[in-house]
Amino acid sequence: MQPIRLTGNDLTFADVAAVARSGCPVELAPDARERMSRTRAWVDGVVGGPQSMAVYGVNTGYGSLARVRIDDAHIAQLSWNLVRSHAAGVGPAVSPDAVRAMMLLRANALAKGASGVRPELVDTLCAMLRSDVVPVVPSRGSCGSSGDLAPLSHLGLVVFRGPDDEDAAESGEAWFAGARVPGATAMREAGIPRLVPAPKEGLGMINGAQLTCAIAALTVVDACEVVLASEIACAMSFEGLLAVTRALHPGVHALRPYRGAVQTAANLRRLLEGSTLVDALPDKVQDAYSLRCTPQVVGAARDGIRFAAEQIAIELNAVTDNPVILLDAQAGPEGENKAFSAGLFHGEPVGLAADHLKLCVSEVGAISERRIYRLTTGNLSARLPPLLAERDGLRLGLMMPQVSAAALVGHNRQLAYPASADSIPTCEDQEDHVAMSTTAARRAAEVVDNTRQIVAIELLAATKALWARLSDDPGAKLGIGTRVALAVVEERLGGRRTAAAPADDIEKLVELVREGALTRAVQDAVGPLAGVIDG
């Protein structure tokens, strides 16, 4: 794999997924290295230089302790103290892919060259990604402001060491070569030296909402896949329920031209091209909302997800540090002080986006569940077998999978409650409004997981519905997209049969969606469908 070069400006969602999940290597771009070195030189000048300038986080305390000046002799210890005392996470560990994404995003933010840390720090992060040294980061306890201090400090414990000692007991933990070991052990075995933090590097490591952004970015990637898979499942349900496609007509959507609705309608039309099962009942003029209004509901979700993704994409290539060092800024009344204290670390933009993302995706799941209900309910399903049970009576059909889908909807409704709406003052009222963005992002990831499971259940239900239709009318033709989808599902199920325990089938289809195999196979056959986000 070609390494991705970090410039601070060019990272995409695809890059994040490639590094986090496929082990794609990363390196610092030469011009970024040069930029970093120049700002670093300025910081070095502050510490050793003749002017006695107070710069936040370089030679002061942190948070409300910015009022305290620290003398030059203690500056390395200051950073190391920061990392240790801020490693305050609790609870189960964040998944390794999200930790890798967090490391990548931190490295990219530093590559922008406004933080004043050494290029060696980014090199160390890149080396850890390459050797797959993944720090253990507890998932709970971050307010997302000023950034994900605690989660990034758990990364800092592995990256840094104290100026006077190398105490492995204070090096956190990391996964390396399949084992969970002390951070110092992992780094030693991977051959990566831990760094004694240079001035400002403690703060440079931990200030910013990179865990929020890492989880949110991977969740955007997953959400896009789940939404597209839900449209494929919906198209199969259209056929299974002998639906009317007039509600998908482009003329209809031109009259209320939401971009997402137009896209969803177009995708459904494309998938259903050539189908003889839809529009087959002459007296039927329109369907229930879960079919007819899918463009409006899933389309609106698409619009919301796109907005969230745009916000998160900005954060992928943003400096989230404080202070930032602007070498070219006008000197102004502060003379040579190029450090600007500001609030770029605040997690709000990403937290709000993540809250919106999860609300949108939970609606995609909610409408999918209603289609599952119709498919399994005798009087609503255009005479499909009740509960989609096999006609030989040897199966309960999908009675309980529909119940599971309903439970997932209920769970999503709980998770949809916005985390960003809350705030609790911290740090002696200095940090008197915080984002709670990390919680928003974690819950968004859960909503997407749940929704993937609902979509898998719809795929199973729609598949069984199509089997019933094809067995009633062997000459029936499926759409150009749905016929491929059916084949892919059948391959995964091991033929035209279901397992005795539906959980076994659902698990297989959840994996099918997670791997992206369904949308890939369908698009190979029908050409690209409208994606959820651009690029």
Binding site: L82, R84, A88, V90, L149, P386, A406, A407, Q414, A500
Partner: protein
């Protein structure tokens, strides 16, 4: 003899928690006799009789095929497996339901459940996808393993092949009535609810201890604990909490009777902690009733020789109280966070910022407060009620559902989150007390507070210079969860001669 004997009448949340963490279980002989009586009366072909109602169409002619289809067909559900303790709780709770003698299940089913528990064998069951009514998905996964049809299984935490795990355990050839009784009811909600109740007791007891320690550090005006006003309002929880706080701070020279009303997080602590205890006692009453309830359908009445259909399986009673419990506990955590915010806030506490010397160079316990704030915020989100929602299921048949498993798993999760908040208050308050009783101020903490402080210091040393905070949080959090700060664990120092200004 087993640690816990079940008889369908007297199972408590604490016993469920004990079994969840490994206690052994046996069946009371009288309960066994009751089960035999009702099993005789139960319709032999109940599943095939209900088939047309549930599934529509023809039932299989062969009873064994119907049983197997019924059990396996209920095995839906998705997601990460339920934890081992929850699984063990589920199994003992279901055994106790059957032991009520109203289910018509044969004792063989209970005996196998108990044998599996005592051998450390637990099925792997997906955690998501149950709604807390009727046929339970989680119970179906358990039954699938009991009947050796398939599924994954653990023995003492390790995944082992099904045959190996079940070797030596009694064989169950399930009848139709066994199968129905193994599946029917919202027992997963009840099991998680029982664990939440047991956990909430441990949590609240530790929260009172942490509060007492904070009282010392903020030099609380103990008028807020005076019996008169509390009796005049007369909520039992508040009266009890105030009494306990008085005892813990007895003989303190720090927290004394003054004329200086404190902020609400101090002054009103007995009222919020007390309201949480009142809530918990109500919730416990409902959960305990449900633990010993016939939640099956249909039910067999051996005396009148009747078999009656009803709706005893619906999870609403426990779902509602789980949502209630979440709110009660969240406000305790929320107030604890405000107290520890004060402790770490130099201008409010009169102590060094973040409770450490050399602030600036050291950040002390700054981040502990952030962590507490984040956890409390997470609890607020979890407190959003699950039981207000319902999604129609099973062909309009189960057209109102309880969402009990979501409410109960939320409560269990919330208890876990708040244990760390209480741990953080203990950490901050113990550190603050070191300043109050150290060389600069020669204060003396109360009879109980001293013991609480000593217990904290056995687990984490004083914070003199920055170190890895996570290490302390993890150790104290574990101690809170293990009940290290319950009333039984706190020794009261002997009464000393009265000090001027003391209580």
């Amino acid at each position: 003899m087993a640690d816990v004997v079940i008889d369908g009448r007297r199972l408590t949340p604490r016993q469920v928690a004990a079994v969840a963490s490994g206690a052994t279980v046996s069946l009371d002989p009288a309960a066994l006799r009751r089960m035999l009586e009702s099993a005789e009366l139960f319709p032999q072909h109940i599943i095939r009789e209900k088939w047309s109602m549930l599934v529509g169409g023809e039932a299989p002619a062969d009873s064994a095929v119907a049983v197997r289809t019924f059990i396996e067909g209920h095995c839906a559900g998705v997601g990460e497996p339920l934890s081992e303790p929850v699984l063990r709780a589920l199994m003992v709770c279901r055994a106790n339901v059957l032991a009520t003698g109203f289910s018509g299940a044969r004792p063989e089913a209970v005996e196998l459940l108990l044998a599996m528990l005592n051998a450390g064998v637990t099925p792997v069951v997906p955690s998501v996808g149950a709604v807390g009514v009727g046929g339970s998905i989680a119970l179906a996964h358990v039954a699938r393993v009991m009947c050796r049809y398939g599924g994954k299984v653990r023995r003492n935490g390790e995944l082992v092949p099904l045959e190996e795990a079940m070797r030596g355990l009694p064989e169950l050839v399930p009848t139709e009535k066994d199968a129905l009784s193994l599946l029917n009811g919202s027992t997963l909600t009840t099991a998680m609810g029982a664990l939440a109740v047991a956990g909430a007791h441990t949590l609240l007891d530790a929260a009172v201890a942490a509060c007492a320690l904070s009282y010392e550090v903020v030099r609380a005006d103990l008028h807020c604990l005076a019996e008169g006003p509390l009796a005049a309002r007369n909520h039992p929880g508040a009266v009890m909490v105030a009494r306990r706080l008085r005892l813990l701070t007895d003989q303190s020279t720090l927290a004394t009777l003054q004329r200086r009303p404190d902020s609400f997080s101090v002054r009103c602590a007995p009222h919020t902690l007390g309201a949480a205890y009142d809530t918990l006692h109500y919730v416990e009453e409902v959960v305990t009733r449900e633990l010993n309830a016939a939640v099956d359908n249909p039910l067999v009445f051996a005396d009148s020789r009747e078999v009656l259909e009803g709706g005893n399986f619906h999870g609403a009673p426990v779902a509602l109280v789980m949502d209630h419990l979440k709110a009660g506990l969240t406000q305790v955590g929320s107030m604890a966070e405000r107290r520890l915010f004060r402790l770490t806030y130099g201008q409010l506490s009169g102590l060094p910022s973040f409770l450490v010397h050399g602030t600036g160079f050291n950040s002390g316990l700054m981040l502990a407060q952030y962590t507490a704030a984040s956890l409390v915020s997470e609890c607020k989100g979890l407190s959003h009620p699950a039981s207000v929602d319902s999604v129609p299921t099973i062909q309009h048949h189960e057209d109102h559902i309880s969402m009990g498993p979501i409410a109960a798993s939320g409560a269990l999760h919330l208890v876990d989150l708040l244990a760390d908040v209480v741990a953080i208050e203990l950490l901050c308050a113990a550190q603050g007390l070191d300043f109050r009783t150290g060389s600069e101020e020669a204060g003396r903490a109360g009879r109980g507070s001293r013991s609480i402080h000593a217990a904290v210091r056995e687990i984490v040393p004083r914070w003199d210079a920055d170190r890895v905070l996570h290490t302390d949080l993890r150790a104290l959090g574990a101690a809170v969860r293990a009940g290290r700060f319950g009333p039984d664990a706190i020794q009261l120092a002997p009464v000393e001669p009265a000090v001027a200004g003391g209580v």
